[in-house]
Amino acid sequence: MQYLSRFLIGGSVVCLFAALADVLKPKSFAGLFSAAPSVALATLPLTVLADGKTYAAIEGRSMLAGSVAFLAYSALCSRLLLRYKFHAAPVTVAALLIWLSISLGAWAMFLR
């Protein structure tokens, strides 16, 4: 039941932010909503209910590292799309490896 509710709430909140980004102009402003804390807003209240506030606060600390990785990831995507003739899909999917490397690197160095 917890899995289903997380999936449904997570999907709904993400769709809400995506719809908001779709109607906003210019594109650079709409892009702010691509980095909205949608997954966190959907899951943190459920985490607090299930595991407590301290557990959720630890997740928040790690999220800080994840957001630094997000910054590097999106900067790389923007640069690659502007400079080279790559399409968005392969660039944004392949660059997820950068997000993963920075996130796990930060976890190994500072959070473990």
Binding site: G31, A40, A88
Partner: protein, 152 residues
């Protein structure tokens, strides 16, 4: 350039695109929970900032812009890539706000009510993201003006 809304974009959007985003968002939320249960909250928390819908959004933006240009008789795909790159540039600024959100959750959640901490964290995200975008836009405009002046 000022911020505006275009509600007709919702009508133009294909419902299957929202289904894809829903599935990605739901999957990212589940992944964060499963990894937290398996490896602890320090690993699960990383995935609260996972770019869950960014690849899907950027791909759709590129597709829509390219389709719009094709309808106008322009076959180049450059505009589509540029639009996706601008969205990514916005995400860079949004991720500064995301870091602010995470910081507030980390420092405030244990001491204050969950609703209050989430509210302050969301406001922080919005304020930081918008302030970063305003500064970035102003600098971009100054660069354009000085480039034009040097070309004269």
């Amino acid at each position: 350039m000022t911020v505006s809304t275009d509600l007709s974009a919702l009508k133009r959007a294909n419902w299957s695109e929202y289904v894809v985003r829903f599935l990605f968002g739901g999957a990212a939320s589940l992944l964060a929970m499963i990894l937290a249960k398996r490896f602890g909250p320090a690993v699960g928390g990383l995935f609260l900032a996972f770019p869950a819908i960014f690849p899907a959004s950027a791909t759709l933006i590129e597709k829509h812009e390219t389709r719009k240009k094709r309808a106008a008789g322009i076959l180049s795909t450059v505009r589509g890539r540029q639009a996706a790159a601008l969205d990514a540039a916005g995400a860079v600024l949004g991720s500064i706000g995301l870091a602010g959100f995470a910081l507030i959750i980390w420092r405030m959640l244990s001491e204050y009510g969950t609703g209050f901490a989430l509210f302050i964290a969301t406001l922080t995200w919005l304020a930081l993201a918008m302030a970063s975008w305003t500064v970035w836009k102003k600098n971009a405009w100054i660069k354009v003006k000085s480039k034009r002046a040097s070309e004269r």
